[in-house]
Amino acid sequence: MADTTTAQPMTKPATAQLGFEFSSGDRSPAPPAARPERNKDRDQTEARPSKRSRGGKSTSAGPVTAEHMATQQREISVSEFFAKNRHLLGFDNKRKALLTTVKEAVDNSLDACEEARILPELVVEVTQTAEERFRVMVQDNGPGIVKEQIPNIFGKLLYGSKFHRLKMCRGQQGIGISAAGMYGLITTGKPLSVVSRTSSKAKAHHYKLAIDTKKNRPDIVHDEAIDVDFPHGTRVEIDLVASYVKGRQGVDEYIDQTAIANPHAEIRYVNPTGERLTFHRGVKELPPETKEIKPHPHGIELGVLMKMLKETECQKVGGFLQKEFSRVTSSTCKSVCKTTGITPLTWVKQIDSQTAERIYDALQKSRIMAPSTDCLAPVGTQQILAGLLKGVKAEFYTAATRAPTVYRGNPFQMEVGFAYGGELPTEETARLIRFANRVPLLYQQSHCSIYKAVADTNWRAYGLSQSAGSLPAGPLVIMVHFASVWVPFTSESKEAVADYDEIRKEIRLGLQECGRKLQTFINRRKRTEREGERRSVFVRYIPEVSNALNAITGAGVKKLRDQLMALARERTELADRELDDQGRFIRKSKKRDPLEDDSTVIVERDPGGPEAGAELFGDDESRMTGKVVPRKKGRRK
C-alpha cells in the first residue's frame, strides 16, 4: 500500500520487526523455509518496505535451490518480476487491473486523510481513452506529500511506512500505488502523474514519474511547480490497459461498497460510461484514530520471536519480553524465564535458537491477558446504518458492532449490518458484502470465513428461506466488517478472511444479533399486514352495519359509522404506522420495543406512491447514486 499519508519524510523502510531481513533481501539467501505464514501475508499486504520480500515470495513459489534463487534474484528486474506476478498483485486480468488501480489509489487517499484527521473528499474518474485503454484519476483532500517524497512513494516499488506496524489500517490489498503506476507504464508506456499540494501557501508540485525497473528507482520525467485549485491534497493519474465491466466485482461495486463502509467520506465517481455518481457523506465524524500496539505473545510465530530477539535494542531478556510485547507482566516474565531455565537478567545475545524455542513454548503456555482492543476502530453501528442507508434502498436496516475480542493474540472486532426489504430483489439470494478494515472484498467469497459463517447460520429461524449451506434468499443485504490490526487472509490475493474459530464465532453472534431484529421486523410486518387486512374487513362491513342499525333504531348512520370506524382503528392499531417527519414510522408499544434502539432504522417505502425515500436518496435512477443522508435524518430518532 502506497502511503501518501504523511507530509513528513517516510520512516526508514525495512527495519521490520517482523519476518525477514528485508534490508539485505536481494542478496540474502532465501528466508527460512519455515517462514511464518503471518509474515507471508503481511509483506504482501503492506507491500511497501522492500521489493526483496517480493523476490522472496516469487522464489518460494518455485522449487529451486537457494543458490539458484539468489542468482535469479540478482538478475530479476522489477518489471519482469511484475509481469510474472501480476496475479499476486491484483493485476491478473484487465478487468481486475482497473479495479486494483482504483482501489490502491482510493485506499491510499482514505488512509492519508484519516491519518491527517481530515474528512475525506475524493474524486474518482475513470475515462476510456482508447479501446482497452483507460485513465484512472483519483484526487483527495488529504495533507499532500512533501516534494522530496513524491518520487519515492510513487516511483519506487515497495516503499512505505506501514508495513512494520501492528495497527489497524487499510492496505490489505496487494501492492502500492507504484505497482499500479508500473502496470500502467508497462502496458501503455505512459508515466504516472502526481500533483500534490501540502498547504495553501505553497505551490503544488507536478511530477511525471516513470520507474526505472532495473534499479527500482523513480525516474522523474517531468517536474514542475504549478497552481491548482485545491488547498491541499493529492491527485494521481495513471494510464493503463484495462477493461471496464459494469456491475459485480468491478470498479462500480468497489466504489459503492467503499461508500458503505466509509460513510464519513464524500466520493464523487465518474465511470467510463460518463455516469456521475455522488456518494454523499453520511456521518461527519472521522473514525477514531487507531493506536499501534506491540505484538501479543500468543499471536506470534517462533521465527518472529527470533527475529525480534535479534533486532531488539533491549539487552536483557526481562526487558525484551516486557517492552517488545503487549501484556507481558513482570510476573509472567519471571515464570517464563524460570520455565525456560534462564533469568530475566540473561543477556539477549546469549539466547540461542533452542532457548528461543523454549521461551516461545513457555510464552504460549502462560496465561497472558488478552491484548488491549482500543487499537481498533470499528465502523460503528450508526455509521454502518448511515452507509447502508445511502447505499441500499431497503426498508429495514439494523447493525451490530460486537465487542472486540482476540484470535491468536490479535485483537479483532466484527460488525454486521443488514438491509432488508424495500427495493431489494425478493427472488434472489441475499447479497453478502464483506469488508476487512473498511476495504471491500470482492473476490473469493466462498473461501471466506465470513461467507461460511453466513451460510452456516440458520436463516429460516429469522423468517427467510435458505437452501442448506448457502446464502439465504430474500431481499437482504448482509454486510460484515472485520476490523483487526492483522487481517488473516487465506492467500496472497487478500480476498478472503481465514476461517478461525474465534472469528467465525464472532461473525455468527453478530449475524444472530441482527437476525433477531430482522425476525422481529419481519414478524411485525406480517402482523401489520394481517392487521391491515383485518381492518379492511371491518371497514368494508361498517356501512352495512351502520345502515341496518340506523334503519332499526334511528341512531344516525353517520354517528354509528364514525363510532365504528374509530373502534376499528383502535382494534387494529398495529396496522397504523405512525410516520415521523422523515417518512419513517415509529410504533408505540407499552412494552420495550426490541427495534426501538439506535441500531435499527426502518424506512417507509410505498412502492405505489411517490418515491418515499426520495428525500433520502434523491431522484436518482441508480442505486449507487446516494444522495445526502444527513446523519440525523438517517436515524430513527
Binding site: 383485518r534 374487513v537 371491518f538 368494508r540 362491513y541 356501512p543 352495512e544 352495519v545 345502515n547 341496518a548 342499525l549 334503519a551 332499526i552 333504531t553 341512531a555 354509528l560 363510532q563 365504528l564 374509530a566 373502534l567 376499528a568 383502535e570 382494534r571
Partner: protein
Amino acid sequence: MAKKVRRPGAVGEGTHGQDGRLTDTKTRDKIEAMARMVVEQIDRADNPTLNIPVRSLSNVAFNEKKGIIEMGDGKAARPFFDLGNARRFMQTMLMSSELLKLQQQHKTTSIRDMFYHCKHTIEGAREETFDEQEESDPVIEDLEVTLGALREELRIFANPEGSMVGPMTIRDTGDEIELSRMGSGGWAVPSIVEPHVIQFVKSEAKFILLIEKAAIWMRFNEDRFWKTHQCMIIHGGGQPPRGVRRLCHRMANELGLPLYVLVDNDPWGYYIYSVVRQGSINLAFESSRMAVPAARFIGMSSFDAAEFDLSASVTIRLNDKDIVRAKEIMAYPWFADKRWQREIKHMLKQGVKLELEALSNKDFSFIADTYVPEKLKKRKWLD
C-alpha cells in the same frame, strides 16, 4: 334481546299465544331491543357483540321424560370486531333490519325470498352481503333463537314441500278442503300450518303414515292405501320440513292420531324418524311444538331383509360415511334404547342398507299391499 334465552319449555304455545295470532308488535319490539343494545355497546366503545344460543349437539339435551330434544343455555358470542365473526355479524344486522321491514309491511315471505331481498354488493367492495342461501338460512335461524321469536312470528316460511291425502276435511285460510278428493298430487302442505291458518274440520282417519319419499307416497296414493286403511298419508320429500312436522304434531296432539314413520333403512332414515319423534338438534328450541314423542318407526328395519326374504341383490353396501353416521346416531342419547342399539348394530353387522324401493323387487305394490299392513298387524315397530 340477544341475551334473552329461550328456556326449554318456554317454547311453543306459550310464546306463540294460545290463539295462534301473529303478534307483530311483539316481534318488532324484540328486533328493536336487540338493535338498541348493539347501539349502546357502540356508544360505550365496546366491541358490538350478539350472544347467540348455540344450535349444536353440545347445547341440546334429551328430555327423557318428555321424549324430546331441548335446547340448553349455551350461547356463543358473535363480536363484530373479530375476523371470524364480522361478516356474520353484518349479515345478522342486515337481516334484522329487513325482517323488521317485513313486520312493518305485514307481509310473509320465504327464506329464499329473504336471501334475495338482502343480497346486494357491498359498497366499494367486490363482495356480496350473502353469497348463497346456505348463508342466509342460518342467519335467520340465529335470529329466531336470539330473539326468541318463532319463524312464523318472523313472518318467514321455508319452502313448502310435502303432500297429504286421507279421509279428512280441513280449512286452509278459510277454504274448506276435502283431503280425500285431492287426485294424484295430494294437498300441498304449506309451511305455516298454525291454527289460525289450518283448522281441522272433520276427520275419519285412524292413524297417520309419514313416508320419507314422494315417490313411495305416490304408490300409496295410487293404491288408495289411505282409503283401505282409513289413514292419512303424508310425505316430506326427504327430511320433512317444518310444516309437515308441525302438522303431524298437531294431528297427533289435537286429533289423537298415532303416527307411523316409513323411511329407508339407512342412518339417514333413522335420523329422519328421530327428528320427527323428538326434534332436531338445529331446531331444538322448537321441539316442543314439532316433536311427536309417540311416533312409531314402522320400517324399514335392518331385520326386514331376512323377514321379508329380500334378495341380496337389492341391498346396497354401506359406505364409509354411512358407517360414521350410524355410529354417531348410536351415540345419541335418544337412541340409547336396547332395541334401537340392536337395530343399528344389526345394520352395521350386515354392512348393507335398504331403500324402500327395494321392496318393489317382490312386486310393485308389495310395500302397500303386504309390507306395511303386515307390520301394522304384527305390531312390528320401534318407538
